[in-house]
């Protein structure tokens, strides 16, 4: 595979190194001259010293023929624009993947057309949460053509929503419980239905109120 890695920081460098060791062809785009030089000393002629958020350099790096373009700078806004420009410049064929630093930007990126995201914060959280009785809150997908998203929330034993009927939840405006997944079956999430620990609640909500929804379910 041919992979363009946008950003040659710690993540970008080690990703490029691992890809090369696995036999893939790689081009790293790094704007800092000294950093670019250093990577070249380590990995060979696989670096383009240029800003990755400018289309001409994406083309120069060969994004048109890349199987994947991966944006891994430390700045979410830059990763978003790199990915959107890559989509624009390089056609719909290759994969476009963004690193997000702030996990809530995962749903933002998906809403803005970048479906594949990786959040190191989320990955670390999931490792920790396997050890702790904390409920999960997972934005599943944006609903195309609206400002809405689909969210799955798992009710933990200590959650303030546990043991309460749905009607007593203070859901933010526009949020609607679509159903409750309990023991592999769907239970209607309305009125007197009581939330139990282990329930997975499926909610439709405007992306803008996600944080309010989280506090309604988890305190």
């Amino acid at each position: 595979m041919y992979v363009v890695v946008a950003g040659g920081g710690e993540v970008g460098f080690h990703l490029a190194k691992a890809l090369i060791e696995a036999g893939h062809e790689v081009m790293v785009i790094e704007s800092d001259r000294r950093r670019a030089q250093w990577i070249e000393e380590q990995l060979g002629s696989v670096v383009l010293n240029a800003p990755a958020d400018e289309g001409r350099y994406q083309l120069e790096a060969g994004c048109q023929r890349a199987d994947a373009v991966i944006a891994v700078t430390g700045e979410d806004a830059k990763n978003l624009v790199i990915c959107q420009l890559a989509r624009y410049n390089c056609g719909p064929l290759g994969r476009v993947i963004a690193r997000v630093n702030d996990p809530k930007n995962e749903i933002v990126f998906k809403t803005l057309g970048i479906q594949e995201t990786v959040s190191s914060t989320r990955v670390l959280m999931s490792v920790i949460e396997q050890e702790l009785p904390v409920g999960g809150f997972l934005p599943l997908m944006p609903l195309t053509g609206s400002q809405l998203e689909l969210i799955e929330a798992e009710i933990a034993p200590g959650s303030p929503a546990a043991g309460k009927p749905v009607r007593s939840l203070k859901l933010p405006d526009g949020a609607l419980i679509g159903g409750i997944v309990r023991g592999g079956k769907i239970v209607p999430g309305v009125g007197e239905a009581t939330l139990q620990p282990g329930d997975r609640v499926i909610v439709f909500a405007p992306t803008a109120v996600e944080a309010d929804l989280r506090s309604a379910l988890f305190g």
Partner: protein, 164 residues
């Protein structure tokens, strides 16, 4: 109108002051408290400290109720991200973003974000001035002059308009 401006540099602050004077409800967001010092004296605007490309910050400042949204920070990428969140997530009708890279300005215009580039605006204007094509910049230069004289007068009221 309910106006939300992200980025309180010289441009954002001057615009906020103008719109506030005209009676619009203006909120300015910036990550740097010191940036609010750019606001003209006596500006009738609300300031909010935070990252204007952050979903929670934009919700807290009421982006869903904004009629006009302007992203005017120094970072093209932050502006384009903030503008897209305003348009696609909060449903703001009129969204304008500064992108000093003209290529990015053109690409995102195609995505429905109104963009402008200081780079090309100034280049076109300066070329017209050199060619003495006065019609290109006439209205712009007259309004600019009026505004600059007024602002200078507000900062040094005793001296009156600058000697010319």
């Amino acid at each position: 109108m309910n106006v939300l401006i992200v980025g309180c540099g010289r441009v954002g602050a001057t615009l906020a002051g103008l719109l506030g004077d005209e009676g619009h409800q203006v909120t300015v967001v910036d990550t740097d408290k010191a940036a609010f010092a750019h606001l003209p004296l006596g500006s009738k605007v609300v300031t909010y400290l935070g990252n204007g490309a952050d979903l929670d910050v934009l919700r807290n400042v009421g982006a869903d109720k904004a009629d006009w949204f302007l992203a005017l920070t120094q970072g093209d990428n932050r502006n384009l991200m903030a503008a897209q969140i305003a348009k696609e997530i909060f449903g703001v009708k009129r969204v304008i973003a500064k992108s000093n890279d003209p290529i990015r300005a053109e690409i995102y215009r195609g995505k429905g974000i109104e963009t402008f580039s200081r780079t090309t605006i100034l280049a076109v204007l300066l070329r017209a001035m050199l060619r003495q094509e006065t019609e290109v910049g006439e209205v712009l230069m007259r309004r600019t002059l009026e505004l600059e004289q007024r602002l200078a007068g507000e900062y040094a009221p005793d001296r009156g308009p600058a000697q010319r």
